[in-house]
C-alpha cells in the first residue's frame, strides 16, 4: 500500500496537542508510510480537569456549574443530565412549564452546537465563509438564551426541580423569530456546502464508518446515525417532553443516512439542525397555550438526595451523555460518573484512520464532531 516506501522507514508524527486541525488539545500519534497512515493513536488527557472528583465535594447546585463545562458547546444538555439524575433519586415531579422550557432550551442548544460544527468543519477543509454564516445564525439563538439565562455559553439555568427563572415577557415571540431567522440562514449555509464540488470531493467516500465498528466502540449521536445506526434516545428512551414530540404526529424525526462517510455525517448534522428548529417551534407553541404555573419547585436550603443510585442518560448534541449518580444521602453525591459521547467517538479513530492519506486525516477527524473537554472531562 505504501506509495513512497522506496527505501524509507515509517515515520512517526505528532499531530497536536496544539495543532489547528485538531480543534482543541487532542493529540494524535500517527505512523505514516509516505502519504499513507499506517496507524493512528489518539493521546488524550491534556485537558483532564478531574470533573468527576470535583463533583464529590460539591452540592447539586454547584455541580451544575462544573457539569456544564465538560462539553462547552452543549452546556444545557450537560446540566440536564445532572438534574435529571438528582430528580429521579428524589422522586421529584417537575412542573409542566419547566419540562417544556427545558426541552425547548435543549433543542435550541443542540442547534447552537450543530452550527459550530457546520461552520468549523468546512473551515478545517479550507472554506472560511461558512464559519461566518454559522456564527451569524448562532448569534440569533444566543441572544434569546442570554436574555433568558444571562449566560451565552454556560447557562447555569437548570436547578433541581425546574429552572432558575421564568421567561421574560415576550420571550417566546423572540424565540419564534430567532428560530425562523436561523432556518432561513441555514438554507444559505447548506446551499454553500452540500452541493459544492470541492467539499464533495473531500468528503464523499472518505472515512467510511461501518455499523459494526460503531457498535463495537459505542459511537453514538449524529455520527452513528450517518452510518444507518438508527438510535436516538429522544425517541428510544424519552425524557423531558420528547415522548410526545417524537410520538405519533410529533415534529421529532430520527435523522439517518446510509453512506457512513464524512459527507453523510455533515448532511445528517444539517437535517438534524432543521429538525431541532421544528421541535423548538412545537415547544414554543405548546408553552404559549399553557396555563399560568410555576417553572421550578421550592427547595429546602440544604438539598439532600436520598440514598440510592441511578443512571440518567440524555441525547446530547454529539451523542449519548450518561450521568451515573450514587448518593449516600448527603448533600453531595458519593460518586458521579460521566459517560461522554466524544470519548467513544474519538476512540474509533484508531480503526478509521489507518489506510487513509494524511490529507484525508483532517477531513475524517473534523467529521467526527467532538469536543476535547468532553473527551477528557
Amino acid at each position: 500500500m505504501g506509495s513512497g516506501s522506496i527505501g524509507s522507514a515509517d515515520m512517526i508524527l505528532n499531530i497536536g496537542p496544539q495543532h489547528p486541525a485538531t480543534h482543541g488539545v487532542l493529540r494524535l500519534r500517527i505512523v505514516v508510510d509516505g502519504e499513507r497512515l499506517v496507524s493512528a493513536d489518539p493521546v488524550i488527557g491534556y485537558m483532564h480537569r478531574g470533573a468527576e472528583k470535583l463533583f464529590e465535594v460539591r452540592d447539586y447546585r454547584q455541580i451544575i456549574v462544573l457539569a456544564n463545562r465538560h462539553d462547552w458547546l452543549s452546556a444545557f444538555s450537560n446540566e440536564l443530565g445532572v438534574v435529571l439524575a438528582a430528580e429521579e433519586l428524589l422522586g421529584m415531579e417537575i412542573p409542566e412549564r419547566a419540562t417544556w422550557t427545558r426541552t425547548l432550551l435543549a433543542e435550541l442548544q443542540r442547534t447552537l452546537s450543530h452550527l459550530v460544527f457546520l461552520g468549523s468543519y468546512p473551515l478545517e477543509l479550507g472554506a472560511i465563509t461558512p464559519t461566518f454564516f454559522a456564527f451569524h445564525e448562532r448569534e440569533a439563538i444566543q441572544a434569546v438564551l442570554e436574555e433568558l439565562s444571562g449566560g451565552r455559553l454556560h447557562y447555569m439555568f437548570n436547578r433541581v426541580g425546574g429552572l432558575k427563572d421564568d421567561h421574560p415577557a415576550g420571550w417566546l415571540d423572540r424565540v419564534t423569530k430567532a428560530v425562523a431567522d436561523v432556518r432561513a440562514g441555514l438554507a444559505d449555509i447548506e446551499g454553500l456546502l452540500m452541493t459544492n464540488e470541492i467539499l464533495k470531493a473531500r468528503t464523499v467516500g472518505v472515512g467510511v464508518l461501518s455499523p459494526e465498528l460503531i457498535k463495537a466502540y459505542g459511537v453514538t449521536g449524529p455520527i452513528a446515525r450517518a452510518s444507518g445506526v438508527d438510535v436516538d434516545l429522544r425517541r428510544d428512551a424519552p425524557y423531558l417532553a420528547y415522548g410526545e414530540l417524537f410520538g405519533e404526529g410529533g415534529p421529532g424525526r430520527v435523522v439517518t443516512r446510509t453512506g457512513g462517510d464524512a459527507y453523510a455525517r455533515l448532511s445528517c448534522l444539517f437535517e438534524q439542525t432543521y429538525n431541532s428548529l421544528d421541535i423548538a417551534d412545537a415547544c414554543v407553541a405548546r408553552l404559549s397555550e399553557m396555563p399560568r404555573g410555576p417553572i421550578n419547585q421550592r427547595l429546602p436550603k440544604v438539598l439532600k438526595v436520598p440514598e440510592g443510585e441511578t443512571y440518567a442518560v440524555v441525547e446530547n448534541s454529539l451523542g449519548q451523555n450518561g450521568y451515573f449518580l450514587v448518593s449516600r444521602g448527603d448533600k453531595t453525591p458519593w460518586r458521579m460518573k460521566l459517560r461522554t459521547a466524544s470519548f467513544n467517538n474519538i476512540g474509533v479513530l484508531v480503526e478509521m484512520l489507518p489506510g487513509n492519506l494524511v490529507s484525508d486525516m483532517v477531513s475524517i477527524m473534523g467529521s467526527m464532531f467532538f469536543v476535547v473537554g468532553d473527551v477528557d472531562k
Binding site: I64, E147, G151, A201, R292, G293
Partner: protein, 260 residues
Amino acid sequence: MSERGFLPGVFKGLGITMKTMARPAVTHEYPDARPDLPPRSRGVIALVEENCTSCMLCARECPDWCIYIEGHKETIPATTPGGRERQRNVLDRFAIDYALCMYCGICVEVCPFDALYWSPQFEYAEFDIQDLLHEKERLGQWVQTVPVPPALDERAPDAAEVVSANKPPRVPRPAAAAGDATGAVSAAGEAPVRRERPAGGDRPARAERPAPEAAAGAPTDATTDAATPATRDAEPAAPPEPPEPAVPAEPPVAPEEETS
C-alpha cells in the same frame, strides 16, 4: 465533478456572497457601538454594602471560593436602662476575585439580604491579574449599573418579591393587644423574639395561629389586601397571621449549617 473543470458549486457560492454583500453589516464596532445586553446578563457582581450582614453564605456556597469576607462583632449598648446589649456584625472586607469567578451566580442567588446583584457591565479587563480582585469599594460602584429585572411572562406566577410585598402587614398578637401599654413595646420588638424561638421562645403563641385556609386565602386577592388590615384590627378574635415560609424553614437549617 471537478474532472469536468466546471464547478457550479463555486458559482452558487459566489451568488450567495453577492446576495450577502448587499446586506448591512451584522458586526458591531465594539468600542464605538456598545452592545445592548439583556438585564439578566451576568457581567459583574455588585455589592450593596449596607445590606450585607457578613453571614458568609455566599462565600461558603461559591463553588471555587473566590469571595473573601472579613468582619468583626461590635457590641451596641442597651438603648433603654436595664435593656440588653446587642451584638452586630460589621463588614470589614468583602472582595470577589474575578480571576477565579466562574460567573455562576450562586452567591447572588443565596444572598438572603439582597446584598448582591448581577450587572451586565463587563468592561473591567486588567493588565495585571491581581487587579481583578475587586474590594468592596469597587464592588459598590457597580451598583449604579444594575438594571431593573425584566418583566415576567404573563404565564409566570408572581415573583417572590411581589408575593411577599402583597402579604398583609403583621398585626399585634392578641396577648399583646389585650395587655397594657408595655404590651405594645414587646409587640414592636417581635422580630428578635421570634428568632430565638428554637431556644424555647413563645411556643404557646404558635398554637393560636388561625386555620391554614384563613392564611392561604389572604394573599389571593392582592388588590384588596392593602385595605383589609385596618378592618381586621377591629376584630382581635381572629388576627390574620400571614403565612410565613421563611420562619418555619429556618429551625431545621440552622443546626445543619453549624455542623457543616
